[in-house]
Structures are given as structure tokens and as C-alpha cells.
């Protein structure tokens, strides 16, 4: 029987790693993600997990170690947070371009300056264009489930891409919640053994990561782009199998109280949890509001976003990352939302809310404020601003 436990997000991720029978883990300390490696080290020391546990000399080293391990045919896991994620940046493109499907757990932390230990999606979002799969968990349960789903999708031979499996620092990574830890047999049924098509092997020598000519560059880029085009179908199959084996149903977009909604909050990660409660309270007052939650930022579900969001009158994108000087002057998600909707026959009014930055909580009152802004947009029939810094706007 599957066990019900109370686990933090990172303890749940460690359980996922154990269920995935990872063979190599590489650590380097930075909070908050470090808790993952503490859990894994305990499992290895207690003999619960047969895994080579290596301590890297930095994040660049960490990623290089797991690249070597995964290239040699071992299922590998590493992780980081904040400036650790950016310190390893050079390695992300070659890992994806070399089509090595290792996994990196990111527990978000705001980037410097100045040093802020709070959660913010900017660290991982900065690496969203390197060819990795990427998505956020809302709860510790999703942290566990996303890890298994990502290994399964990334290692599929139609995909062969590394995966950033992200969770908000502290809100998910350190606040314990109920987690159903599945049986090993269930995990084995869902996740076949890792098999790279051309692993490093002394008996069948191959070259990984050779220098290429300029005229080969486009083709390599296209291979990666094609893999991202093929990935949604593989994700769909994984969702179906996951629902069948574990009993939890997932989709590209999770919808909450959207059937009769006029307006929705579009969000990813931990703050969706608070947003649901705000929506319950607003619904009790008669506000027709719902929530649409994003599961994968990469590959971005363009079709689904266009179909789902065009049903509403107004969409408020809750941004937990920054895109300084970007087209919308706020975060990253509104760019993609608007681009997805551009060719839709019916487009909702859209705006974005900068909230939960620097690790701040988004209290209920702020979600109420966002709902008010969306209401007045619907009333006026136009978008007055593309970005609101929630809690810091002089009344307009």
C-alpha cells in the first residue's frame, strides 16, 4: 500500500529520487535546496538507496558530474537554488544540446543583489531558453509527482532532454504537507529503466560533445527545437499512465472553479495554493473568478493556453519572476500568455501582477485587490496597464 506521510517539498523530492532509483547524486550546499541532499545522504548512509553520492566543488562542477554520470548511462540527480542556479549556467545548453536527460531539482531563491533568501522564480526562469523541460510544483505531493513524470518524459527516446523540476523555496520546499508516497512497484511500472541510445562505453567508444562546424549549428538547434515539438505528446501519455497507476490526474493546465468564471488568475507554483483560498472567499461574495495553473513552462502549452484562456473576459497573470525592460515591463509569463492568445479568435483582456517577489507571501488581501483590478478591466472593457506591482501602486 502507498504510504501517507507528512513531508516537506524537498523530502518528497528525495522520496521521488529513491523511487526512481537514481544511481548518481551530486551535491553542493546552498539553501533552500540543500535539504534534498541532506535527505538523500541519509538514505544512502542508511542503506536505503544504492547511489553514488558525490560532493561537487561548486554548481558548475555539480552539473558536470551529473552530465558525465548520465552520459555514461546512470540516472542522475542534482539541484540548486538562486545564485547556484546561475553559477552553473554555462553547462545547461551543452547538456540539452547533447541530449542527456538528467534531472535538476531547483528550490527557488531570489537572485542577488542584495542577498535575499526568499523565493522567487527568476533563478530558474532565467534558464528557460536552454532547451530543458521546466515546470513548478504547488505542493510537496506535486514535487514528488513532477520528479517522476519528468524523468519519464525526459528519458523517452522521442525527447531525450534534461529537466528542471522546480518548487518555490520555503513555501513548498520547507513547509510540510500531506504526501502519498507510492509503492516501489507502482514507480517501476511508471518509470522504465534509464537507457541512453549512445552512452559512453569503453566497449563501444563514442564521442560526446565534439566541436562542430558552423553549418552544423542550425541543425543541432533544430534537433532540440524538434524535441520540444515532440514532447507534449509524450507528456500527455505520461499524464495518462500516471493517472492510471497512481490515481492522480494531471494536465498541462489545472483549472479551479473556471466553469462559469468571467475572470481567472493565471499562475504557477506555490502561490496557487493561497490563490485557491482567496477564490473560495471571493466566490462566497459572488465574484465569478477562477484559477488556471501552469504545470510546464517548457515546453509552453501554446494551444491549451489559447483555448482555455479565450473563454474568459479577463486574465490576471501572477508573476513571481522578473523580466526587466521586457515588452510588458513586468515578469515573464505575460509575454508567453499574450503571444499564445494573439491568433485566437476571441481574446480576453490580460494584465499581470508582480507579487510574491523576494520571498514575500501573497496574502489573501492582495488576491482580492487583483480581482478588483480585473473587475474594473471588464467594466471598462480595456487593459489600462500591463503590469501592477501589487501593494506598491499609487491609485490610478
Amino acid at each position: 500500500m502507498a504510504k501517507e506521510m507528512v513531508l516537506s517539498g524537498l523530502a518528497a523530492s528525495a522520496q521521488a529520487a529513491k523511487l526512481a532509483k537514481i544511481e548518481v547524486a551530486c551535491s553542493y550546499p546552498i539553501r533552500p535546496y540543500t535539504a534534498l541532499m541532506m535527505e538523500l545522504a541519509k538514505m544512502v548512509a542508511n542503506g536505503e538507496l544504492d547511489c553514488e553520492f558525490i560532493h561537487g566543488e561548486g554548481e558548475h562542477g555539480q552539473l558536470s558530474v551529473v552530465l558525465g554520470a548520465a552520459a555514461a548511462g546512470a540516472r542522475a540527480l542534482t539541484g540548486s537554488s538562486g545564485v547556484g542556479v546561475t553559477y552553473a549556467f554555462e553547462t545547461y545548453s551543452p547538456i540539452a544540446g547533447g541530449r542527456v536527460p538528467l534531472q535538476m531539482c531547483i528550490a527557488d531563491r531570489a537572485l542577488d543583489p542584495p542577498g535575499d533568501f526568499g523565493s522567487e522564480h527568476t533563478d530558474a526562469m532565467s534558464a528557460r531558453d536552454q532547451g530543458w523541460l521546466m515546470g513548478w510544483a504547488e505542493t510537496p505531493q506535486e514535487a514528488l509527482d513532477n520528479s517522476l513524470i519528468n524523468y519519464r518524459v525526459g528519458e523517452d527516446h522521442r525527447v531525450l532532454l534534461p529537466q528542471f523540476v522546480c518548487q518555490d523555496g520555503y513555501f513548498v520546499s520547507h513547509i510540510p504537507g500531506p504526501v502519498v508516497v507510492p509503492e516501489q512497484a507502482q514507480a517501476d511500472e511508471f518509470l522504465p529503466p534509464y537507457k541512453l541510445p549512445h552512452p559512453l562505453d569503453p566497449h563501444h567508444p563514442v564521442s560526446h560533445g565534439p566541436q562542430i562546424r558552423p553549418d552544423q549549428g542550425t541543425v543541432i538547434d533544430m534537433q532540440r527545437a524538434q524535441a520540444h515539438l515532440d514532447t507534449p505528446q509524450v507528456i500527455k501519455e505520461a499524464f495518462e499512465d500516471f493517472g492510471r497507476i497512481f490515481g492522480r490526474k494531471y494536465g498541462f493546465l489545472d483549472q479551479y472553479k473556471t466553469e462559469d468564471a468571467e475572470m481567472v488568475l493565471f499562475i504557477q507554483g506555490a502561490h496557487a495554493f493561497t490563490a485557491r483560498h482567496a477564490i473560495n472567499h471571493l466566490r462566497a461574495k459572488g465574484v465569478k473568478i477562477g484559477l488556471v495553473k501552469l504545470r510546464f513552462v517548457r515546453p509552453w502549452p501554446t494551444q491549451e493556453v489559447a483555448e482555455v484562456l479565450s473563454r474568459f473576459k479577463a486574465v490576471g497573470v501572477v508573476e513571481t519572476s522578473t523580466s526587466y525592460g521586457g515588452a510588458m515591463r513586468g515578469g515573464n509569463l505575460l509575454h508567453e500568455v499574450r503571444a499564445s492568445l494573439y491568433d485566437a479568435p476571441k481574446r480576453p483582456l490580460t494584465t499581470s501582477f508582480m507579487a510574491g517577489l523576494g520571498g514575500e507571501v501573497i496574502p489573501l488581501a492582495e488576491f482580492y485587490w487583483m480581482a478588483e483590478k480585473l473587475s474594473s478591466m471588464i467594466k471598462e472593457g480595456k487593459t489600462r496597464k500591463t503590469v501592477y506591482w501589487v501593494g506598491y501602486e499609487s491609485e490610478d
Partner: protein, 108 residues
């Protein structure tokens, strides 16, 4: 689906069979400006060129007892000319040769 011309195909992730001696998919000698030229009459088989070449572009042909130059990977650094003990090696401008690299149909 993309359409990739046959001559531009690249293996998945650029993973190739490991070369035993040469990697024919990556000819690197074509940005050379000068090339070393050997006068076998003067060569005393000291092996300096074979030892010092950073790209292993000088190999000994044991049957003929003479060093053989590999044009495909020589970058024209001329270390061999500098290290030559007998004066058998000299440098020559690549443009002076009919098959010089600048005349290749596909320079890169």
C-alpha cells in the same frame, strides 16, 4: 517536421563513433596560413617534429623511414619547423599551392 538536406545531417546530439585515428566529420586543417614542407634529403630522423606536433600531424612511415605530414588537421603553427634539428623543414605560404586550403570548395 523540419527538412534537413542530406549533406547537412548531424547525428543526434552530435554523438559520433569515437575516432580511432582521425575524425573525418571534423576536418580542422583548413584555417592554415602556412604549411610545413619537408626536404627528405636533409632529414636525419631525429623525430622532433613527431614529438612536438600538438595535433599529432607528423607520423613516421616506418617502411620508407620518413615523417609523413597530415594536411587534414595541421593548423600551421610551425612548431615543427622551429624544432627541426636538421633544417629539413621550412614554411611555405598556403596560397602558393594549387590545393591550398583557401581554394577548397567548402572552406569550413
Amino acid at each position: 517536421m523540419f527538412k534537413i538536406p542530406k549533406e547537412k545531417e548531424v547525428p543526434l546530439g552530435c554523438i559520433t563513433p569515437a575516432p580511432v585515428a582521425e575524425q573525418p566529420m571534423m576536418i580542422t586543417g583548413n584555417w592554415r596560413e602556412y604549411r610545413p614542407v619537408i626536404d627528405n634529403e636533409k632529414c636525419n630522423l631525429c623525430m622532433s617534429c613527431i614529438i612536438f606536433c600538438p595535433d599529432a600531424c607528423w607520423q613516421l612511415n616506418a617502411e620508407e623511414d620518413e615523417p609523413v605530414w597530415n594536411w587534414k588537421y595541421c593548423k600551421g603553427c610551425l612548431i615543427c619547423v622551429n624544432e627541426c634539428t636538421s633544417g629539413a623543414l621550412s614554411k611555405a605560404y598556403e596560397l602558393d599551392f594549387e590545393d591550398g586550403v583557401v581554394r577548397l570548395e567548402k572552406p569550413f
